[in-house]
Symmetry: C2
Subunit: 320 residues, 2 copies
Amino acid sequence: MEEYLFSRDIAAAHNIAQSIPATESDPQFQEVYNWFRAQPDVEDRFGQVIRQSIDEVLDGQRTGRFNLRDLEKTEKTYLGTKVEIITRTDFGLTRGRVMDFSVCGHDVDSKFTIGSNWTIPREADQHICLLIKADDQRGTFRVGLLRIRDDLLNAGENRDRKRSPSAAGRDAIKWVVPDGRLPENILLSLSVTDREVIFKNKKSGQSRTNELFRCPRVQGRIVNRNTVLTVARQDDSLKRVRDARNQLRSAGIIILGHQGQHPSIARSLDLPVPSKGSWVAARVTEIDDLHPTRKTAQIADRNYAVWGEGDTPSAAPPNY
Amino acid sequence: MEEYLFSRDIAAAHNIAQSIPATESDPQFQEVYNWFRAQPDVEDRFGQVIRQSIDEVLDGQRTGRFNLRDLEKTEKTYLGTKVEIITRTDFGLTRGRVMDFSVCGHDVDSKFTIGSNWTIPREADQHICLLIKADDQRGTFRVGLLRIRDDLLNAGENRDRKRSPSAAGRDAIKWVVPDGRLPENILLSLSVTDREVIFKNKKSGQSRTNELFRCPRVQGRIVNRNTVLTVARQDDSLKRVRDARNQLRSAGIIILGHQGQHPSIARSLDLPVPSKGSWVAARVTEIDDLHPTRKTAQIADRNYAVWGEGDTPSAAPPNY
């Protein structure tokens, strides 16, 4: 402790903090910033990194959780480590000498928060930090860079002696992704009532999967594998979706994946087109003639449109 | 804090700790113990729970790690949470009212350590704890139950105010699995030299996979999917193994999986038989006649035995 204060005093005496160049005249910082900005699809990739990290720690298949609020403290702490690991893998980075990453040969520390601000450990002082922040409820995230300096942190420390960027510090962040859209957490976006209907049956994962695709607020939106696993609490998402397709046929509900004619049916009906490991459901109605103003798809020699108020109820096609 | 001390004093005054029955005369404790003991394959399942937990937190596919020594502090803490989650799922348990599990309607807390002792939080006082301990280096684990009492814990507290079972406490543990064998962490069991050869090529996951199966200390032992992913640092373990099979053919190395005739070849050669998602490699030699004292397998109309010192080098069969 005394040693620490001593070196802080020396630093103050030599005015080291002031000698660190501002962001614009910090060539190492610029190099790191340019490197991230030059990464192809940087926004999508950080979005996927964060989505994957959140989903792995929620561990929906085993726990049925989809809300970060339900994580334990140890899991919230670990979430930052998972974001660091997946960022390193996705961007092909190695470890730095003393910090989490090496970017263009410069050490960069990784800091993640789902709260309002980051907590910066003492060791990161003078280092470049990759600051990542996510709000799963709003489906937003930001990624920025900041060279940590004493005058950019609040004075107060938490009990681990960590401090947070001050208003001036937050203003000094250079944003790699200023306003990212997080891949949707569909269960989190539903109303309490919709979720109660989906999760009502405690015993049957298949029944819960059926209710997921039957839900009008889920139809027309991409449902990914993790959502099915979280609802079904079972290994085999493919089989659960296949069985839901059969069991919802009489209710006029189709579930499209990425295989065969499914993507073209999705496009014809103006639905989002699922990629591998994701699906889109819709309630359809059989219509006799090609209707000039409605999007229709021909499936097994019949014409279908997305069901609307006033349409006759009809079964979904037997094969598609 | 004062309130806390106050209730401790009251407890002391009423001698509550002494009024808790000893293990043998604690019917709730006995019920929980009997429940775990009655679970089919309890040792195998706890072994798998621990193996899976360790492997997920090591995250070998992304990090290349296979040694718990390389985990960060947040990851070590989280490992206990992962063991708790997978135990709950595997044994179909629900959460307790205030503790981690409900077993026969009784609250049970989950505590895991890879060290020498467990740390017990204040909240677990008077509760039944499921104590799990693993040593990945030795490939051993233990699972036991203990009703936490003040006189079974050491006096000293860590900075989170947690205490550890004393010698008397550890003696009082009733073991569900007294001496379990953990599924092998094959990379951890190899010599530094063997590992250097396997991990030498930093760029090619395929080359590392080839070296894994070429290693004489790996041959004849079950290699699981996680080991291949940790070595290859890629998604598709099946493809890496398939390509290794082709690339190691001229070196006389076969890699057997669970499909087709592979299990029967493994049995004929006295090798362990791989289950789905695992493999066994062996160096073989073609032998002309059936040798009376050697285990042989007929593959593609030729006879092969496991290669031994003095045998002629030969290629592995072209198809199997």
